[in-house]
Amino acid sequence: MVDTIILLAAVLVFPGGLFVLALGLGLKGVDRRIAARLQRRVGPPLLQPFFDLVKLAGKRTLVPEDACAPVFLGAPLVGVVAMMVAAALIPIQGVYTPSPILGDLLVLFYLMVVPAVVLMVAGSSSGSPYGAIGFSREMTMMLSYEVPIVLVVVAVALRTGMGQGDGITFSLTEIVHYQQIHGAFLLDPAMWPAFLAFLAFLPANLGIAPFDIPEAETEVLEGPLLEYSGPALGLFKAMAAIKTVVVLSLGICLFLPNAPDGLAGLAVQILKLLVVMTIGMTLLRVSLGRMRIDQGFAFFLKLPMALSIAGLAAAALV
């Protein structure tokens, strides 16, 4: 009973649920503000993503005639829940250790696919040709970045497992623990190729330039989100915000989890999130244009693929 309550709290309040949502929206606000400064603008208030969400919550949701309503409306809900669970899966060094019941890296990995799947479902259920194009693009992008990220994760798991002497481990808690003792993988030259591959995965998974292809406003309007409105659209925005935190936290977990205990640990975590976001997302999206879908696909088949293979080899051999 107590376990269940703790689990629910982890998913719904901290570090999942409300906390991760607030954190995600806060990060988004900072991201927009920094981007604005880089473009010589003042930018929106820091709390703008909250305002947007509050507003969307109060608007009406329209379901297009051609759409299947349960699927159309259920998709974003599934996405948000999946992301909340995913957030509860990621340990924060010195602050939070997830219950092993929730699962390990492999479960997290599956959960992280959910948003993309949800977007595909949303796109195909909306009955708009642009939604359909968004769907096919989302699929193409997913196919292209999924293999490198699997290899990166395996590389980290292998490195940890070998360090511990039992082959391979998919427990995030152990990966974090191992690095806390033996030093961050970020400082380990053998892990650099894997880290670089992860950096390439980041914008693709989060739909940021140069890989914002499925949602490209000027090409397919807003792709899968075209037909959404009101609270349902708000759920997508929430999903995206939480996903940002999850993906960035995963990166921190895999490569630089080291932090002190307690509140200081939480502060360090947020600081790391900010730094990784600014470099890995904000700077990227303001300094690059979008790729074409075939270019994006080809890109992932080349550099990140090579890097991730090299990373795996290095993790195993060096």
Partner: protein
């Protein structure tokens, strides 16, 4: 793979104006394009023959705001031919000044929008901020940021005093290094090059077949510029360089426009420095007899031709014009064939389509 049809437009965010394409695609590749035109058809030709010759100065300006100096300029030139009015040298120089200012602003807008379509918002904003220099020039010298109202029958409505001339030259000095930098970015930035090179190609032979005009023609190797081939206003006293490229792709068209911005800055300097003294426009409203005339000028998008017929009344009998986008637009069918969905907006934008000009 089976093909399916997607509608692009008519009210589409990526397009400034309503235009409607039915694009048949196979996967992400365009198989064929059907253009449905007419969304901005406002019947201006009809209205022109219902309004007086003097009202029409402003009406021609409202045909399109991006070429809003070229239309009244060509219209006034045609009326002047009919009425036998000779524009003073100062009036001619000032007309050319207005022409070049509009050209710079128009080209920068197009080049900026190209970055926007690639999703490169920062570069779009950067280009548009540079354009603001020209917008401020228009607002300060003419009183409006788009429809500058420079022309009247027999000359121009505005004048430049010495302070304004030196201020204008100062603005050009501010603009030029920023343009140089912008050219550098468009020449070397991978984001731009990867997306714009080799797409929307129009070969030199096709360019001649479709009789395309302006930067689109020049990017396909056709060195035609009305300012050189049949000079008007002060252009017979200037040397206008005509840049050409041969690749005929989206990128070449953007580069032609950027080169023309540079050339226009040079022309503006010459025009402002050499501005002759004298009146800018005749004191009296001229009488317009019956007659017919043709006037041509180089709008930002290329050759603009006006045919005006009057019958001695205060209303023109027939005013007909042909804008450069008219042919360029038709040529889109060739450029779009085999393109990818993501490139449609880019290719369409690369001809700098003026829908309101074309559909009237």
């Amino acid at each position: 793979m089976s093909t399916y049809t997607i509608p692009v437009g008519p009210l589409h965010v990526a397009l400034e104006e309503p235009m409607y394409f039915k694009v048949e695609v196979s996967g992400e590749t365009v198989v064929s394009v059907d253009i449905t035109a007419g969304h901005v058809h406002r019947g201006v030709e009809y209205l022109l023959s219902k309004r007086t010759i003097f009202q029409n100065i402003t009406l021609t300006e409202r045909i399109c705001s991006l070429c809003s100096n070229s239309h009244p300029e060509a219209y006034c030139m045609a009326i002047e031919q009919i009425a036998g009015v000779v524009v003073s040298p100062r009036g001619e120089y000032l007309r050319a000044v207005a022409d070049e200012i509009k050209r710079i602003a128009s080209h920068l807008f197009n080049v900026g929008i190209m970055a926007h379509l690639i999703g490169f918002e920062s570069l779009f904003m950067h280009a548009m901020e540079i354009r603001e220099i020209m917008q401020d020039v228009k607002e300060t010298v003419f009183g409006n940021r788009m429809d500058i109202g420079a022309n009247c029958i027999g000359g121009v409505r505005y004048d430049l005093d010495d302070d304004q001339r030196s201020w204008l030259l100062g603005q050009l000095d501010r603009l030029e290094p920023q343009i140089d930098e912008l050219v550098g970015i468009y020449t070397t930035n991978r984001s731009i090059l990867n997306r714009t090179q080799g797409i929307g190609v129009l070969s030199p032979a096709e360019a001649i077949e479709y009789a395309v005009a302006g930067p689109v023609a020049r990017a396909s190797g056709v060195a035609y510029d009305v300012r050189v081939k049949s000079p008007y206003t002060a252009y017979d006293k200037l040397t206008v360089e005509v840049p050409t490229r041969t690749a005929g792709d989206v990128w070449s068209r953007a580069m032609i426009r950027l080169s023309e911005v540079k050339i226009s800055i040079g022309l503006l300097r010459r025009l402002i420095e050499d501005l002759p003294d004298g009146p800018t426009a005749p004191a009296e409203r001229p009488e317009i007899p019956a007659g017919e005339a043709i006037a041509k000028c180089e709008a930002p998008r290329g050759e603009l031709i006006y045919y005006v017929r009057t019958n001695g009344t205060n209303k023109p009998e027939r005013v007909k014009w042909r804008v450069p986008s008219f042919m360029n637009w038709d040529a889109l069918c060739t450029m779009l064939k085999g393109a990818r969905i993501s490139d449609i907006a880019l290719i369409v934008n690369s001809i700098d389509p003026c829908i309101s000009c074309t559909e009237r």
